[in-house]
Amino acid sequence: MRTFRGGLTIGLAVAVLVAAAAITYERYDTKTLKRTMRRGEVLCGVNKGLPGFSNPDDKGNWTGFDVDFCRAVASAIFDDPSKAKFVPLDASERFKELQNRKVDILSRNSTWSMSREVNYDLYFPAVAYYDGQGFMLPRARKIDSALDLNGSKVCVQADTTTALNLADYFRTNNMTYTEMKFGKPDDVVKAYDSGQCDTLTSDASQLYALRLKLSKPNDHMILADIISKEPLAPVVRQRDDDWMMIVKWTLYAMINAEELGVTSKNIDEALKSKKPEVMRLVGTEGSYGEDLGLTKDWAVRIIKHVGNYGEVYDRNVGADSKLKIPRGMNQLWNAGGVQYAPPIR
């Protein structure tokens, strides 16, 4: 009898341990790459509609900077950008849907911050786009520094971090301003367009989109000054390092390609290059792609199908797009910006 009871206790203990182990195992997903490959597509959480970043047309074709990044990941894995499947997500549901494995990656203009990374058990592999708060004003004012905005009437969306940053910036620089608060972004624009404010403040990427809604877009400019940090990054689940590495190095491959002058147009020429940095990028030297769990030509696939970082920037938000946002901070580190990728070696 005693031995039976003892056996039962041990059995129960084992069962509890196994269950605990299973729960722990379930909690941390380490198989994203495997599942993605079996499924044959990358599930990508994107914004439902944000010009330049993620925008579907009436036929359901997606365009944008965030969308193209997903296509780059799909290209690296499948050699086929159409293997990226887009899942439109609200701001409020985006992190939960990633945690619940409804998507493999979030590429949805999400600001990287400490609390999001630590509290949500998520990971932001690298900054894809350096955004930050700026100011739009009429060109005719002939102001080229935010420090000249003392005494301005400023249009701003109410109850946002934008309004708080505005207050901080003016206080820090001993300037005064009159706040003109509005509930919706469209009302902010209308008020500014009708001349109720001297300047409008929002994230710089937003300002260029809002400028297109003005009656005379070309009469307005956006100052070069950025007063806050909004680093936009893709997001993945923690503790799936193999997957995180693929997402991170997809972005770094695109940035390195631009730095080395490798584009979607000269990729064939690049494959014949004898320059060691180029050879490591395109896989004619080393086994960097295989070490990542992919193929030797992983970066070639990205560049061929989607382009290097500069090409993706120009096409979606830069000179060749409607928004025409100058490269600014998103220019490469050796050309005036802060965009910097560790080397492939």
């Binding site: 080229d144 520094s145 070309n218 400019m221 100052l223 070069a224 000054d225 950025i226 730095e259 080395l260 002058g261 490798v262 000269n266 020429e269 690049a270 290059s273 320059k275 180029v278 000179a319 025409k324 100058p326 600014g328 901070m329 220019q331 580190w333 050309a335 005036g336 910006g337 802060v338």
Partner: protein, 197 residues
């Protein structure tokens, strides 16, 4: 047999020549130098090529000029993370060199004496042209080191943002005059080319 082959090749060559001359006429002259043409002052540059203050992180001292040929931008470093950026036209050939030069001379409405190598390529160019609105060097010129290359104006504002010159860097006349007033002789000019594969 050989004769037949030669004939085929000659035919191909003739066809190619005909095709290239047609293209040459279809586009404007490949060099985009049109001596005598008066610049259209009302020409509206694409936003990308308009003069503007931009974010620009640099270790170079304020007042330094950085020419980013691949971008078709000329930066005048302002310090404090900013630069004044102008749109430029760059060389399709010639100035492939990169590094540091200084402005050795400045001239208003410069005369144009196309260098011999340019005459050799484009014999139809004048040997000398007095400065003025129809002059391809435009309103101002800043001479770079001891080279034959310059930062200058243009009578062809539509060529800003392209690679058509014989190696010089061209700005629209308003911009080159603006730059001219901001930089003295002795200004450092850093030329950057796109990386080679």
């Amino acid at each position: 047999m050989t004769n037949f082959r030669q004939m085929i090749w000659m035919l191909i060559a003739a066809f190619g020549l005909a095709l290239s001359s047609v293209q040459g006429h279809a586009q404007s002259r490949p060099d985009a130098d049109e001596p005598g043409l008066i610049a259209d002052d009302g020409y509206q540059l694409d936003p990308e090529w308009q003069k503007q203050v931009v974010y620009y992180r640099s270790n170079e001292a304020p007042g330094t000029i950085i020419v980013a040929t691949a971008e078709r931008h000329l930066y005048l470093v302002q310090g404090n993370g900013r630069a004044l950026r102008y749109g430029i036209g760059v060389g399709r050939e010639g100035f492939q060199w990169q590094g540091l030069v200084t402005i050795t001379r400045k001239a208003e409405w410069p005369d144009w004496v196309p260098p011999p190598e340019m005459i050799a390529r484009q014999p139809y160019l004048p040997r000398f042209m007095a400065g003025g609105p129809g002059n391809p060097l435009g309103a101002r010129a800043m001479y770079l080191g001891t080279t034959v290359y310059r930062i200058h104006g243009t009578n062809r504002p539509d060529t800003i943002g392209t690679a058509v010159s014989s190696g010089c860097f061209r700005l629209v006349n308003n911009d080159v005059a603006d730059l001219y007033n901001r930089v003295p002789v002795g200004t450092k000019v850093i030329i950057r080319q796109k990386p080679e594969l």
